[in-house]
Amino acid sequence: MAPLLELEDVHARYGPVEALHGVSLSVGEGEVVAVLGGNGAGKTTTLRAVSGLVTTSGQVRFGGENITRAAPERVARAGIAHVPEGRDIFGELSVHENLRLGAYLQRGGFAQSYERVCGYFPWLERRRAQQAGTLSGGEQQMLAIARALMSQPRLLMLDEPSLGLAPIVVREIFGILGDLNEKEGLAVLVVEQNAKLALRSSSRAYVLEVGRVALEGPSTELAEDESVRNSYLGY
């Protein structure tokens, strides 16, 4: 079966500076895949390349369809929900309005998506009128994920969801991601600096270094790998 998301020899650049030098990776239906690497390795750029936020060459295919260089709106319409680094919620709008925006592409069935999402994040209903910018970091991250889920995506892409959050909050978030994957078969591509957590939560992983894939394989194997342990796991 063809993978849900496929990147083949993708190069990406910011102006004259090339950040990805031929990255190939894939995410299968219902898989959780992690992308690891240090700062500047190109992890965020990889997600942005899929979403069409950077100049890209190579091939990006989703569900068999070629979405290379497609505009972000188009990529969202194809069924990919991207939660960028730093949450990037609409701080000046309310929690409820943020969720409504998440469901922008849905024609009907807002109520159904809303119910489902509130199932995972019950507090959203209670705080629906609160201005999103006044939420705590953890709550904003959860709101961002909830917003992404409102569009009923086939693939959820997360950029450093644990950044700046307390460990207990991070555990809660990853727990929810695990549930989503198990119960609903949602495919997840997660970029993380927290390698231990990422490897524990995913079935496969890629390690990026300086814009290239340095290692790839099942997460359990990578967790045992000598070089990964030294560079990213600290032991």
């Binding site: 709106e73 929900a81 990037d88 609409f90 309005e97 409504r100 925006l101 922008y104 592409l105």
Partner: protein, 299 residues
Amino acid sequence: MTEFLQQVVAGLASGSIYALLALGIVIIYRSTGVVNFAQGEMATFTTFIAWTLVDHGVGYWGAFGLTILIAFVGGIALERIVVRPVEGKPVINGVILTIGLFILLGGLSNWIWKAEVRSFPPSRPFPTSAWDLGGVAVSKQDAGILAVTLVLMALLWGLFRYTKLGLALRASALNPVASRLVGIRVGWMLGLGWGLAAAIGAVAGLFTAAANPPLDPNMMRPVLIYAFAAAVVGGLESPVGAVVGGLVIGVVLNLISTYDTHLHLDLDRVRLPVALALILIVLLARPTGLFGKQVVRRV
């Protein structure tokens, strides 16, 4: 007292026109970050188009509606073609661009329609009589203008607050990248902002022409200044502020004209400086306008 109320009502009517233009300025600023110096000339241009339609036999109200539509489309086209490149760039670029547009449209109007005196609208669209409300004579035209303005404002408010499109418009202005990621075609939203503003401007132009015959190519020049004053006083980001600002300025200026003789300050000749002084006073107290958001900078 009745004289006072009468002047207040008349002031509200002229203020409505300032409010409409100011509303257009605020919508454009909120959606694309550009202050549109050409807002007045766009209104004049579309009013001349209305004249041409009437001249070719279209009924006044038909021309009114058609002109609004043409303005709407024209606004979208302007944004997509000419304004898009300066969005996100330094503020001064937008200033010069819209100044250039101001001059260009003025020149085009002059060239296409020459500076002849024209009678427009052909017949009074609003009845010229007035109602008597407890001794206060309220001209039907003034009431009509005020009513339409308030209705438009309510419609826009409803659009922005309660519809999906309105939410998308607001989101696009606040965070274009996140908006694209949820599937909003931000480019079209920006164009829509200009389209709406152009349409509102067209209404303002048509009302100005109706209130001050004959049709004069320079009719929107002073209106633009008062509209800027209204937008600034209300806070460039606040549609409510723009409307309140416009109405207030209309009333204040009218009262000055009326009671000026008692003050012996000959203020009527210096309406513009008075408007400027008003702006300064308000801004000194609240640098982002009465309804503007206070910007807190985190250091």
